[in-house]
């Protein structure tokens, strides 16, 4: 299935060759395209990576709320594979990074046991020829829009990579049923609260660990997504996503923004 040099399927060969010869493709809007040019980057090509991964859940009723570690690993590995392939396409194009990364999960005819994880974005290259690869020597990734990328560059920071932390947590059936016996009263559900707290913390911590490994000084645009995918309502994946950034030594001219009152409605 794979190319000899890297993990990409053979099918990608021709498309990337055309991009290397000078044609660029990008899923950036015109506004985003103009803004990345403003900060000295040029789009190189639309890049994507995907992986079809088994995500089935063995149906068992657990008495305690707990993390389903095997599933967490599966969700993480699947996205990592997709992201890695996308980064490889970017590397093959000689890009410095990928902006506007989107991570999607698709379910198809093969049912609930498996899903396709896709990572897409637009690979970009700095026009001054100075390498902007991240601390691991790889193209940076970020889910920042063109506008956010421009704004970040005004402050002298550069993205290092899209970082994520995930945790698939199972909320105990029995526990939930018992606590429901107290409905009608204004009471916190301690087990439930505790479970969700722990799950979110795990996801956020893992995301931060990734940022540390990249040598980043901070994470911007953090968001937390919670999905049950195909597992029923007692099992939830908590996914924390953000873009790890570091301050660069590039010269920065901090501009004072103009304040306006819009007269349009």
């Amino acid at each position: 299935m794979t190319n000899s040099a890297n993990d990409l399927p053979q099918a990608t060969g021709h498309r990337l060759e055309e991009l290397e010869k000078g044609l660029f493709t990008s899923d950036l809007s015109v506004n985003e395209f103009l803004l990345i040019k403003e900060v000295g980057f040029h789009p190189v090509g639309f890049v994507m990576g995907s992986s079809i991964y088994h995500t089935g859940l063995q149906a068992r009723k657990w008495n305690q709320s707990q993390e389903l570690t095997k599933l967490t690993e599966a969700m993480y590995n699947a996205r990592e594979l997709a992201m890695t392939r996308m980064e490889e396409e970017a590397a093959q194009l000689g890009a410095d990074g990928v902006v506007g990364v989107r991570l999607d999960v698709n379910y198809y005819e093969w049912g609930k046991d498996a899903a396709e994880f896709i990572a897409v974005g637009t690979a970009v290259k700095a026009e001054d020829g100075v390498s902007r690869l991240n601390q691991l020597g790889k193209p940076f990734t970020s889910d920042l829009s063109g506008q956010d990328f421009w704004t970040l560059r005004q402050t002298g920071y550069l993205p290092q990579g899209l970082v994520m932390g995930t945790c698939v947590y199972h909320i105990a059936h029995r526990g939930l049923g018992q606590t429901l016996g107290t409905t009608g009263q204004n009471v916190e559900l301690p087990n439930f609260t505790q479970a969700l707290y722990e799950a979110r913390e795990l996801a956020m911590t893992r995301m931060q660990d990734e940022a540390t490994r990249l040598g980043a000084t901070g994470i911007v645009g953090v968001r937390l997504e919670e999905k049950s995918h195909q597992w029923g309502s007692h099992t939830i994946e908590f996914l924390a996503l953000g873009t790890a950034v570091t301050k660069t030594s590039d010269d920065v001219t901090l501009v004072k923004p103009t304040t306006i009152i819009s007269l349009d409605n």
Binding site: L35, Q147, T151, D264, N265
Partner: protein
Amino acid sequence: MPDALSDLPEAAQRRFSQGSFSSGLSVSDFAACLDMGLEPVGLVQGFCAMHWGAFSMSALGRGATPFSGTQGGYVQNYQCPHGMISSDHRSWGQNYQQGWVEDAWRTGFNSAYSRMMEEAQTLGAHGVVGVIDSENPLSDTGVVEFHLRGTAVKLMDAPAPSATPWSTFLAGQRLAKVFEAGYAPVSIITSVASVRVWSYCVTEFLIEGTGGMWSNTTGAAEIHQIVDAQNQVRDLARTRVRSSLHGDALLGAHLEVSAREFSKGDLEFQSRLSGNRVRRFKDFEPLAVPRPSVRLS
């Protein structure tokens, strides 16, 4: 001034004589009107219920000679290339413009429109802004109700209007920009075209996917009859609108096409083109190139 021969319902006349004020404008549209020197004087509307559908091809049945359509209207015939076959092989087909549907539509719309404009004239208005037009089918028996409404406005400190009021779908800041750009509103325009399709064998086979059996090629081809009908129905509406513009421009046009299938192979396409007829009152003066900005939230 209420006209003794007016066809407005009594309720409308009472509403206006009381001197009360109602307006369909939003807050910002209202403020924009005042900025333009236009004073809203009341909500005006017009209704008309039309019935049609008595004329249809089914009365003639299949096997009859091809219909010649409305005088001068679009007609296109399609002949079966296969030679003979059975009685349920559609050996001929036809696209034709349904002039009676278009006429009935036009009558209904124009009646509703002129009633709305009459109400505006009663109020002494110079124009009507923010027009909303809707058509609602009232039942399955082919009755459609046309309803137009808008806000009548008077130009402040100006003599009483001597002509039919002007009208526009636009209101608020958008209307203000139209004036600033050098255009004066004339009237709203809406036009409908209707084309009926009686499929012939080739169309039927391509749509059903059995074209391969009956054609010499692999069976994949453009479905000419439907393509002709779809393109024609749009062209007809656009041509009619263009001819009623008399050199003016149509701004903010909206083209919508709907399709209906009465029975297998019996289709109807209807297109509706609406927009604002405007005329230049001053020479073209382009504005400066816009200044781009990035907004920090």
